[in-house]
Symmetry: C2
Subunit: 375 residues, 2 copies
Amino acid sequence: MFKFVVKHQSGKARTGQLITSHGKIATPAFVPVATQATVKALTPKQLEEIGFEAALCNTYHLYLRPGADIVKKIGGLQKFMAWNKPIFTDSGGFQVFSLKDGLCAVNDDCVTFKSHLDASKHIFTPEKSMQIQRKLGADIIFAFDECLDINADYETTKKSLERTHRWALRSLNEFKKLNKDKKQALYGIVQGGRFLDLRKKSAQFISSLGFDAIGIGSIFGDPKTESKKIVEHTLKFLPENKPKHLLGIGAVEDIFTYVELGIDTFDCVLPTRLARVGYVFVRPESGGRLSNKFRYRITNSKFKSDSKPLDTKCDCYICQNFSRAYINHLFKAKELLFNTLMTYHNLYFFNRMMKEIREAIEKNKFSGLKKKWLK
Amino acid sequence: MFKFVVKHQSGKARTGQLITSHGKIATPAFVPVATQATVKALTPKQLEEIGFEAALCNTYHLYLRPGADIVKKIGGLQKFMAWNKPIFTDSGGFQVFSLKDGLCAVNDDCVTFKSHLDASKHIFTPEKSMQIQRKLGADIIFAFDECLDINADYETTKKSLERTHRWALRSLNEFKKLNKDKKQALYGIVQGGRFLDLRKKSAQFISSLGFDAIGIGSIFGDPKTESKKIVEHTLKFLPENKPKHLLGIGAVEDIFTYVELGIDTFDCVLPTRLARVGYVFVRPESGGRLSNKFRYRITNSKFKSDSKPLDTKCDCYICQNFSRAYINHLFKAKELLFNTLMTYHNLYFFNRMMKEIREAIEKNKFSGLKKKWLK
């Protein structure tokens, strides 16, 4: 099942609820990434304790290892990773098209690529992506699209977009065959690079096909003003009532920017990946601001005897119990627990921020909150 | 504070309670090892959830990094590692004497050694070990002893034992100066290698000094019959009413053997270290037995689509939620969560076994339980 209910609208920003076969997601939501069916270093119990209602897994990675048939045999992703809540899977396209030259070749019918694990040859088609995502069993899946370099020229982008549109249709047709039980929802993806007319064309075409919801692809963090212009332009041509996901975006300021424009969900590896190399996210009350990207590095020796928590204004399990000195020690001692404590804190930071964003929207105070964070 | 109460005696096996400044430990107990102030890959919350009441940290490692002064500044080990329960620290001797030739030189006054981290030169004396352990602030600390190769000859062992005894006295004298507030308890350590007369001499000497409790050092798992004979002989000369710790021992069969002889506490890296390389401990009802050392390797590809839990008769969080296929996948994918799930399960196995041992002793059914496990 899949339903989207808008709860409160304030400008273009809105709160709502995504209702899936495995439960509800309050929006706007940040969806943490569980590439290989695990949010790195956290148990699903910890993820739930932090307060998350969904996770996003990568089709490419799970297709290669352990394989979709194995995940299906165990009972689907929820059972496999012991996360009995909504799961998204991406289409596999982004990872395949991110492979280096020579590892990936595309024609109108399919993409041929070599596994980054053992160089074995594989083929993805829109139909195959749907079949794999069906076996994986996520609640929310994505159409198979071609992901181009954002700097590609107009002609290349236009041709690629036409392919993405043909693939959108093929994805949808295959999905309809597989999803007769209505267990899954399919998001169409808008592409079009940095060209506003192509973005418009894509938004109109994808909107016309009857997807359950819309994803906007190939938006990168930088340059911020151009990215914002593209998303804003795209959104004009998308149906208001459908949920909108912004793929791969998750910097703090980007979330404020795009929530304000009406985006409902985000996924990004930023908080988890940065956690593992020692970046701690901190709230504005503790000195987090645009100029320091809301973070500092705990790996610096100046923290080695600092008894304060990672963020003095954070109420997470980590900040209530552990000092900077301890976490700095875990880093220096190469202890596994370092990754767990850091990931937990950073994800808590994001989840709490999203909660505050939802509360602010419902009180029509979003722009005040945005000012407080991005001042 | 430190107190030991024997609750129930059945043969020489007994249940009891160790009462420390940070709480109680039901005995016989297995104490998991938290070398660098963390049981690798677990949060203290998970350790508590498993049911443990104590952990053992390594003085040598914490002295080198982050340093005892930093731990003290943060408020002691309990505060530092967010474990508000009893903590043991070893004396640092075992690690120093385990350093390779050229990195460690001993004379009657002290041990000079080079750090395994940066080859910097350091000196340990019995007094210094007490001072460091005082700063670390564990509830239960150990006298500084010389750890010899178990295969050392009689003359070498005898000379070393005399030194260990002089050091026991020096440890105790320094401890008395530092521990006027009675916050910590000091365990004396019996040495004597494989020579029964030296073990007797050591047991009698250490018993005469008024330590809070006794540790038995340099007992190795193999050969089992000789180790058992040494411990059995040693115990004859130790005061019954004092708690007894067997250092570094923790194979399943050894725990049954030594609980039966009257040992109260054990520490060992076995369940945690083996977890990280893929060995799963399994209960006798699930095929765990002496011949397979109560374990199997989950890393084998034959488990890649196995939907069963690690141990079908285990009721831990891991076995209630995750399949062998998932944990095999985490191993192959080099995911950090692998270490957490494996460590959690293996420690749960040990803690549950200890609980069953305590229950069996109290019902005078220990030998039946031992038969069930070691048949």
